[in-house]
């Protein structure tokens, strides 16, 4: 260090550090906005697409501001709702129940695995290995299984099929959070006379809410967006949104405008859920406070 540094006043150093911190804070904010914009630009393309007529999708140069937005939008969204109306209902039922059931099953299971080391590492590994199965392996056998249970083309059938794939994910996501949680609080609770289950429910669970929120959010999204199994396991009684979307992509002739419209609408529940979940995902301060 050169001698100049030593003779500078404390005030200057603090001021400089503060300024650096402020600049860094603002530049990081700008960076965040940039990142979000980049990731959202394809989405904006889809949204503006829902305002376009067919010709505008295949124009050079690309159309960013649709010309006949007023008429095209109406037609597109009308068609989207016509094709996807039932899809919304069915998707909400299937994705909603699949998520709730998955979380209800996964959280206790992951706790047991994290805390009680049940089955050593074999059980968690088995659970994870479900995800290794290539989808094609699962389709035909599951189709046969559901058929035997008379669950083809039913909401329950699809919910069960989705739970099959989402359980491993949910278990592993929450397991990590439980493992990171120190046992002190629960041990203290046990000493105080709490039953193990109560300690789990009242102490552990609230502390891993970010993990549960993440697991729940993604279980919902995966179930909401799933197509392959839905397409094979359902016929006409159940028609989830992804299937409704493929109706707009029939063989010769994609109905681009309506497709964009329905895709936009289909993303809304997920976005709402995500915004709602932010509250639980971002905790930061509270954990430290409790420990202190």
């Amino acid at each position: 260090m050169h001698s100049q540094g030593r003779t500078r006043s404390i005030h200057d150093r603090i001021r400089r550090a503060k300024r650096r911190k402020l600049i860094s804070h603002y530049s990081q904010n700008v960076l965040v906005i940039l990142v979000v914009l980049v990731f959202l630009s394809p989405v904006m393309w889809i949204v503006t697409g829902s305002f376009k007529t067919r010709v505008e999708f295949y124009s050079t140069p690309p159309v960013f501001l649709p010309h006949q937005a007023s008429t095209a939008t109406g037609t597109n969204y009308a068609r989207a709702l016509e094709v996807g109306g039932k899809g919304f209902i069915d998707s909400i039922i299937v994705a909603g129940f699949a998520t709730v059931l998955t979380i209800l099953l996964a959280v206790p299971a992951s706790y047991a695995i994290a805390r009680y080391r049940i089955g050593a590492q074999h059980i968690p590994f088995f659970i994870l290995s479900i995800l290794f199965l290539p989808p094609v392996v699962g389709i035909l056998p599951l189709f046969m299984l559901l058929k035997t249970l008379h669950l083809i083309d039913t909401h329950l059938g699809l919910i069960l099929a989705y739970m099959f794939f989402n359980l491993p994910l949910a278990v592993w996501l929450t397991k990590g959070f439980f493992e990171d949680l120190p046992e002190d609080l629960e041990s203290a609770a046990l000493v105080d006379g709490y039953s193990r289950f109560r300690a789990f429910l009242k102490i552990a669970v609230p502390l891993v809410v970010p993990g549960i929120a993440v697991a729940g959010l993604f279980t919902f999204i995966f179930s909401w967006n799933e197509l392959a199994y839905a397409s094979i396991m359902t016929r006409s009684s159940v028609e989830t949104l992804p299937i409704a979307l493929t109706n707009l992509m029939g063989g010769h002739g994609i109905q681009w405008g309506a497709l964009c419209a329905l895709a936009t609408l289909a993303a809304v529940p997920g976005i709402l859920l995500s915004l709602f979940m932010q509250k639980y995902l971002i905790r930061g301060l509270s954990f430290g406070a409790i420990r202190g």
Binding site: F39, L40, P42, V43, W45, I46, T60, P62, F64, P108, A109, A112, Y116, I118, F126, I130, F132, P134, P135, V136, V137, L140, P141, M144, L145, M163, F164, L167, L173, G176, F177, E179, D180, R196, P210, G211, A213, L217, F218, L227, L241, P242, L245, T246, I254, L259, A263, A266, A267, I271, S274, L275, M277, K279, L281, I282, R283, G284, L285, G288
Partner: protein, 301 residues
């Protein structure tokens, strides 16, 4: 005092064990119920030559199917393609996801909205994403080339460009997932840890590598493992953007296995393919878990 068998049995199932079993049982039940049949189906059929649409009945050929598979160039080509996508994809998505998670892990105006919006790519049904990306990357009408002022032929012309396009779409769609999980992980790290580091006037980088990363390691390892599992199974980006073309230059394992099993109805061969893939994943996951996630996991001091 000798215990009876029954007493030993009850003694073994301590309250601790009982509650554990009770909590795990429903999950295991569902998984076993649904996993048994596919597993038997997969292993069983990998030993048969069975063409669903043939008049010839299925017959046991033991390891002959695997033999055919080992000399099936197209399969190994698909394997190589998938591994390339995997290696590059994991690298890019992890680094990018971590960077973004760090950026979001602060207090700032509109944090909730921006973070929520950031997840939108994951919300678009993959089939639609793929179809739209196809249009966006079109070198004639696509906005991608137009806005960047370049004329790259992304799809179907060269392997490099096509793989890049596939990776771009996959990265766009899944980095938010990585970032969200890491953000949740970062949120769980208590403030005190950072405050302690601050008092020691450690530099940002120092804090990051010595404090944050180690604490984040289990979650980070988990999300990398999960992405590995899913990129290994990549389907829509490949199927919709290039259909595996040109030729089979971008054909992925999932695509080939699906076609073999579900379009060619060669159940025997697709089962054998699946077996190899499952074994591969088991090895990768096992090694990964052993060395990355559990090794060096630190508890809070």
């Amino acid at each position: 005092m000798r215990r009876t068998l029954a007493e030993q049995f009850i003694h073994y199932f301590t309250p601790k064990k009982r509650i554990a079993i009770f909590m795990v049982a429903p999950t295991m039940l569902v998984l076993l119920l649904f996993a048994i049949y596919p597993l038997i189906f997969m292993f069983g059929n990998s030993f048969r030559a069975w063409q669903l649409t043939s008049v010839l009945p299925p017959k046991f050929v033991w390891f002959k199917t695997f033999g055919t598979l080992f000399s099936y160039g197209r399969y190994w080509n698909a394997f190589a393609n998938t591994l390339i996508l995997l290696a590059i994809g994991i690298l890019v998505q992890s680094v990018l996801g971590l960077g973004i998670a760090m950026l979001l892990n602060r207090q700032f105006h509109g944090k909730r909205i921006l973070t929520g919006l950031f997840l939108v790519p994951v919300m678009i049904v993959p089939v639609v994403s793929g179809t739209i990306w196809r249009l966006m990357l079109n070198s004639e009408f696509g906005p991608f080339n137009y806005l960047l002022g370049i004329t790259v032929h992304w799809l179907g012309v060269t392997k490099a460009a096509s793989m890049t396009a596939i990776l771009m779409m996959d990265t766009w769609q899944w980095t938010p997932f990585v970032a969200m999980v890491l953000l949740a992980g970062l949120s769980a790290i208590p403030r005190e840890v950072y405050e302690a580091a601050d008092v020691d006037s450690a530099s940002g980088w120092h804090v990051f590598t010595r404090v944050t990363l180690p604490l984040l390691r289990p979650i980070f390892g988990l999300v990398v493992l999960l992405r590995t599992i899913f990129i290994f199974r990549i389907y829509e980006p490949v199927s919709i953007l290039t259909a595996g073309g040109p030729g089979s230059a971008t054909e992925s394992l999932s695509l080939l296995t699906y076609r073999t099993g579900f379009q060619f109805w060669n159940i025997g061969l697709s089962s054998a393919m699946s077996v190899i893939q499952v074994i591969f994943m088991i090895l990768v996951a096992y090694l990964f878990l052993k060395f990355v996630v559990t090794g060096g996991r630190t508890r809070h001091a």
